[in-house]
Amino acid sequence: MKRFTRILALVLALAAITAVMSAETAYTFRTSKEERVVTENGEFTADLIVDPVLITSIGQSADVSMLDALMKKVGATYTFDPIAPAEEVAKYKTVIIASGASSKGLGAAGISQEQETARAEAIMKTVEENEITVILAHLGGPGRRGALSDTFSDMVLGKFTDFAAEKEIPITLLATIADAMTVLKDLFAPVAQ
């Protein structure tokens, strides 16, 4: 597929057990008490990650900060810039995007929803043109899949699981945020053999 040559989706679905029980959403949860980490449509391996790595946000929710904490914890090497413009993104080989919209976060960054949308579109174009590997990270579970959050998520990868399945992009789902540790460690800070 020409369009997204090397797109990966790593969805950090922070689905607390209450959310798992929730009947509100049509989405069927893949993770359970027994299966805490579920990967569909293929596999994630460290060789998919090419340095340098950038972490940015689309939507400016607090999730990007949680992702930063996770990456710090696993000892990954990366640049953290939640409001990186497309020209900046072009300098990287791998970009992790924490998606999730927050009017507070946008306000604090002094960015309007329109500006953020334009930035997201520019980033999409850049990653396509430069064949940058994209990892989409969604934290926060269904509580964060409101109308505003979905607008942004849709732009990047549509509804995560359906899109991933349709396009055969690997997707990893996690029961809680702590489960992300091992997955990220394997990808970004593999222990030397």
Binding site: A16, I17, T18, S22, A23, E24, K33, R36, A62, S65, M66, D68, A69, L70, K72, K73, S102, K104, G105, G107, A108, G140, G143, A175, T176, I177, A178, M181
Partner: protein, 389 residues
């Protein structure tokens, strides 16, 4: 006036006096300070807020601050509850610190009753009980007052019809009573309304003692979007993220695979007068606030009995949850007991303190002695609180 009339009038007055006397006992009880166990050997001293704003001396706002100073340079934290005196889990968390904590590096300040005046009254017309009691193993009973959201009008009244307060928030129309709300008047005034002076005292405490991280404990209604959220000032986002992550990793280590339902959010730019905004903007401290789930804070709970406050079991809210009407704050038959709520506060604040040193090693604040979350939930406050003489 004939003798018969006089007798009748006197009798009516006497009956009224007896009723007033009996009812007055309840009001009087609420004026009695809570007995807080202060025999923790790690306790350095009990300070008064008036040390930081002398205008509070002799007022109903001069609350106690428990100081744990290791004498070893390191980080400094302020953990407090009772900003809203009816948000009991945050008060119980602070009391748990006072009774159990010990500090081997850095300095810790604990303030269980930030708005002390608010502990001396309950909300009018809510039929709310004024005390929580815990019967301990030795048969003794610990009593903790459960007050209200605002300072007692006996101590601060009348509310001005218009007030542009120190935070830039305008208190007018339906918001005039908020001049008695501690969490609307930060950073406060040295010489102003009582609550403004309390706010100023806290600000000065934070500044004078070089507090690195402050934790303001609250409770929220099931309807509130930010239940179990840590609200962090922009300078505290890294700290908050690390703390939430560490809390969840810790839970996993202890075999609690569901982890904690903690989420992070940024302090709103227009949250004027709230601690996470106003103290974050006006002091060097990284300001945070956490909300646990207490059905008593909502609009649909049953009568506010001691059982409702302690067990957090509310059939009304279970029904509302089952109808799928709650976006957050779902309640099951298991309720939201005080030990669980206070335990969340304890884990959240404990890990903020831990993250402080993790992110800035020279700011390490090492604490120990607190019960574990599982201990607290399993044994209840009946098994955790210490008897006071």
């Amino acid at each position: 006036m004939n003798a018969k009339q006089t007798t009748r009038n006197v009798l009516v007055l006497l009956i009224a006096l007896v009723l007033a006397f009996l009812a007055g006992q309840d009001f009087r009880d609420m004026q009695q300070p809570d007995k807080i166990y202060a025999e923790n050997p790690a306790l350095t001293r009990v300070a008064k807020l008036s040390e930081y704003n002398p205008n509070l001396k002799g007022t109903a706002g001069d609350t106690d601050i428990y100081v744990f100073d290791s004498g070893v340079p390191g980080g400094v934290a302020l953990v407090y509850g009772g900003t809203h005196a009816n948000e009991t889990a945050a008060v119980m968390n602070a009391i748990t610190y006072v009774e159990n904590v010990s500090v081997t590096q850095g300095k810790l300040f604990v303030m269980p009753q930030a708005n002390l005046s608010a502990f001396s009254a309950t909300l009018p017309l809510r039929a709310q009980m004024g005390h929580m009691t815990f019967t301990l193993a030795d048969g003794s009973v610990r009593t903790v007052r459960m007050g209200t959201r605002l300072a007692n009008p006996v101590h601060q009244w009348p509310d001005p019809n218009y007030r542009l307060n120190s935070s830039g928030r305008v208190l007018e129309h339906g918001e005039i009573a908020e001049i008695r709300n501690l969490n609307r008047n930060h950073p406060g005034m040295e010489d102003g309304y009582l609550v403004e002076m309390v706010c100023y005292g806290i600000r000065k405490l934070v500044e004078t003692e070089n507090v690195d991280v402050l934790y303001d404990g609250h409770e929220a209604s099931p309807e509130f979007r930010a239940v179990n959220f840590l609200i962090a000032h922009q300078r505290a986002m890294d700290l908050g993220s690390a703390a939430i992550l560490n809390a969840n990793l810790d839970a996993m280590m202890e075999g609690d695979m569901d982890g904690y339902p903690f989420k992070l959010d940024l302090s709103g730019a227009t949250s004027w007068g709230l601690s996470h905004r106003a103290l974050g903007d006006n002091t060097q401290a990284m300001a945070t606030l956490f909300e646990s789930l207490n059905p008593v804070m909502g609009f649909c709970h049953e009568k506010v009995t001691e059982a409702l406050v302690k067990d957090g079991i509310s059939p009304n809210y279970v029904h509302i949850t089952d109808l799928g009407l709650l976006g957050s704050g779902e309640l099951t038959d298991a309720g939201s007991p005080i030990e669980l709520r206070a335990g969340y506060h304890m884990e959240m604040s404990r890990h903020l303190i831990g993250a402080l040193g993790e992110l800035n090693p020279e700011k390490t604040l090492t604490i120990s002695g607190l019960p574990t979350f599982n201990d607290l939930v399993a044994n209840g406050f009946e098994g955790i609180l210490k008897p006071v003489k």
